[in-house]
């Protein structure tokens, strides 16, 4: 064994002596370290779980409240307002023009929300700047027609949930980094979902495709 190796061996022995052996006072230090570790762990873990989502998302109210129940009772189904156009593209949010097929600048009912709609948007011929909970990034191609027509049409609810049963518009929670809705990742910050509509991430598309078609799909099918 060379001198240098001896030195190293001695050095490491010294270090180990300081850390593990030695006098009993050091055990107290270790105990305090563990407590500090536990406290910091808990604070950070809980912050990451509970506080972080509150910081990540800003809450924005819709221009006015929209009652889906009231409207579906009148028009019957989702497709009347959210329809496929003749060329197969999806209309998405109804334009002011679609709304004005029924509405005029004179409110039909007595709700305050309709009054705002009539005064601020119909009378001024201004499109309603709705926040869209299901808006996906522009780098994704998605065809509604391919999913809701054909032999096994999907129900709107499968992806959009029971939004048709809502009487109020929930606040739009916008991700401060991406600008997209919280509903894409899902309300659960861990990404755990109970229902098929709880999340609208790529993995959710892939899982459903795998189940229905036997293959999760190729990149360029959606990222054209």
């Amino acid at each position: 064994m060379s001198k240098i190796e001896n030195k190293n061996e001695n050095g490491s022995m010294d270090g180990a002596g300081e850390g593990t052996g030695g006098d009993p006072k050091d055990d107290k230090g270790l105990g305090l370290g563990v407590i500090f570790f536990m406290v910091a762990f808990l604070v950070c873990f809980l912050s990451g779980w509970l506080l972080f989502p509150k910081l990540l998302y800003s809450k924005r109210e819709q221009p006015f409240n929209f009652d889906h129940v009231l409207h579906t009772e009148e028009v019957g189904d989702c497709e009347t307002c959210h329809f496929l156009r003749e060329d197969g593209t999806f209309s998405g949010m109804p334009s002011l023009e679609s709304c004005m097929e029924c509405h005029t600048d004179e409110p039909m009912g007595e709700t305050e929300d309709e009054a705002i709609f009539a005064q601020e948007y119909v009378a001024k011929e201004k499109e309603v700047p709705w926040f869209v909970y299901s808006k996906q990034p522009d780098c994704v191609f998605f065809s509604h027609a391919a999913h809701i027509t054909g032999d096994k049409p999907m129900d709107c609810k499968s992806c959009h949930g029971p939004i048709g049963e809502s009487t109020t518009s929930k606040p739009y929670e916008e991700n401060r980094i991406t600008g997209y809705s919280r509903d894409i990742w899902g309300q659960n910050i861990w990404g755990i979902k109970k229902h098929s509509w709880d999340r609208m991430k790529m993995d959710d598309c892939a899982a459903c495709h795998k189940e229905e078609t036997g293959h999760q799909g190729y990149c360029l099918q959606c990222h054209k």
């Binding site: 230090g29 305090l32 370290g33 500090f36 762990f41 950070c44 972080f52 991406t178």
Partner: protein
Amino acid sequence: MKVDRRSFLGLGLGAVAGVVVSPVGLKLTDDSSIWTQNWPWTPVPVDGEISYDNSVCNLCPGNCGISVRKIAGRPVKIEGLAGYPINDGGACLHGIAGLQYLYDPARIKTPLRKNGDKFEKISWAEAISLTAEKLTDIRENKAPQKLACITNKVKGSVPKLFERFLTAFGSPNLYTMPSLESNLEMTAQTLHGAGNTIGFDLENSDFVLSFGAGLIEGWGAPVSCFKANASRKERHAKLYQVEPRLSNTAANADKWIPINPGTESDLALGICAVIIKNNLFDASNFKGGFNKFAIMVQREYALAKVAQACGIKPDDIEKMALLFAKAKMPVAIPGKGRGKNGQSLKEFSAVHTLNCLVGNLNKKGGAFIMPQNDYLSFPEAILDDAAETGAGQEKLASSINDLVAKLAAAENPIVDALFVYNANPCYSFSDPKRVKEAFKRIPFVVSFSSFLDETAMEADVIFPMNTFLEGIEDVPSQAGLAKNVIGLARPVIKPVFDTKDPGDALILLAQALGGTVAENFEWASFADCLEEVTLDIWDALSEEGHVLVSEGAPYGTPLVDFTFLSTNPATIQAQGDFELTLIPIDNMRLTGTVPAVSPFALKTVSDKVLTGTDIVVEINPVTVKGLKDCGDALLTTPVGAVKVKVNFNEGIMPGVIGMVRGLGHTFDNKFVSNKGVNVNDLIGPVIESGSGLDAAFGIKAKISKA
């Protein structure tokens, strides 16, 4: 217990471990990946309903039908309109890039008034009242004829409205920019009488003899010509291309006949001589001067002499003449390049005389003599005394070039006010510096323009115009098309800026002037005017978007008058004493006049034409010793000298230098301007006596290593 280093270590490790097992890391990784794939500052097109609007493109005289794809009402793409009689679904690169003109950096967004060297924004009301005030002063000075106007075209209701304005005001001084259409009209007038134009039935002809016409480089109605050329092989039709360089058209032809620049009319008359000598002509519709013409061409354009002048073997000329005369449906087409600038009436007439000799006028596959503008019926003009006196006077000049020369020569202003509509003579005329100088001698220049181009920069007041996607306009077919189609350009988008149609601006101006001028413009809008003046066809025009007035050979055989050519007008010579000849080249990827090339189209130009910001000239390697391919050179003409890059090209005749037309703009457009050189800056005008045309097909030049 003592808080020591280990405690802090524990705290740090605990915090790290807490964050790691919380959802923060996973979520931030996901969010940052989405953020980086969708930069929030990158514009995302608005989604919405897809719709298509049909209209007509009027960027060039082709007037193709277009289908504009719109999303949520915003135009996003221009395509050729299937079934349209001119282009049947086809489109050229300028047409498909047409949307860029809506948002062009040089677009004029509001009316402008010149204050010193700068323009200041004014309202439409101010612009109209300012102009009306100046015009009222001119009328009060009893010199209404001192209002002149330059428009870009001869056909359609807009040039007619300018003419009506001038007549009602009291001026005969309406001038039109030279175009293939105006050259063809002048030719038709010379050989067949006024009120006609000429169409060439290229899609049916079995032998096309082209005197430099760039059939696939923007001549005539470009897309229609592309289609006729593309079907040539199926129809077993021949194309013989006569020109000094192996252009795309020449490369595509069955035969390329290189010719000394500027001798095309000699060749055409030489071929006439061969046809007459061999008695292969049809004299049934000759009206006057034929005998004199026949003697003249036999004497002056004998085969050997023509061969010498043109640089073509006598046998080749004779063979070409016999092939042409014996073909079933031959047609000869004039107009070098786009047939617009640097053309001579002698050349146009000589070439068209070939059609007249072989008797293919108004026959399938031949040349059609067609009436002009017969679909418009304006109410009779109401004139006061001042208008009658002024409008009845002689025109100040025979052409814009003549006007420019007279303005330069006069001590006092001979024109008090000038309107310029959609034209850019300060760029597209030979030696544009002299045009700018002449403009400075006019006290008040009003530009009706969409873009702040070289000519608009010289104006005192600018009325900003709609582009073809924002306004309404009737666009009759022109430029040698063998069909008579009236198209309707309709707005596919509301004006992006505070712009108007020229007709609406004129109506406002006339109404501000009051009196009889206003009485001639008693329409609420230009759209109302259009409906009234196109009364017979308005319903069909507004519903279908176009009216096919006539297709196929017109009825009857027009008479042919040989008087002009029988006097043997002089052939134009290039200016200068240098040994080489510089000729401009028309390139399909560039535009010649208004509007300037779009950023998209400019990007498609080869680096053999423009490399970086340097223009590249074509020259045969044997022409000059000492030059290097891709090297720098100094090109000098009697008018100017510029630094250029050299492209050795064996497809250009020795002794000839080719430089592309359409580069070297100097106005404020970072995508298009200050790239290359404007070839017109190097060429001086050569005015043809009689026609007043600037017939400078090129200029003598020298080139040396820089």
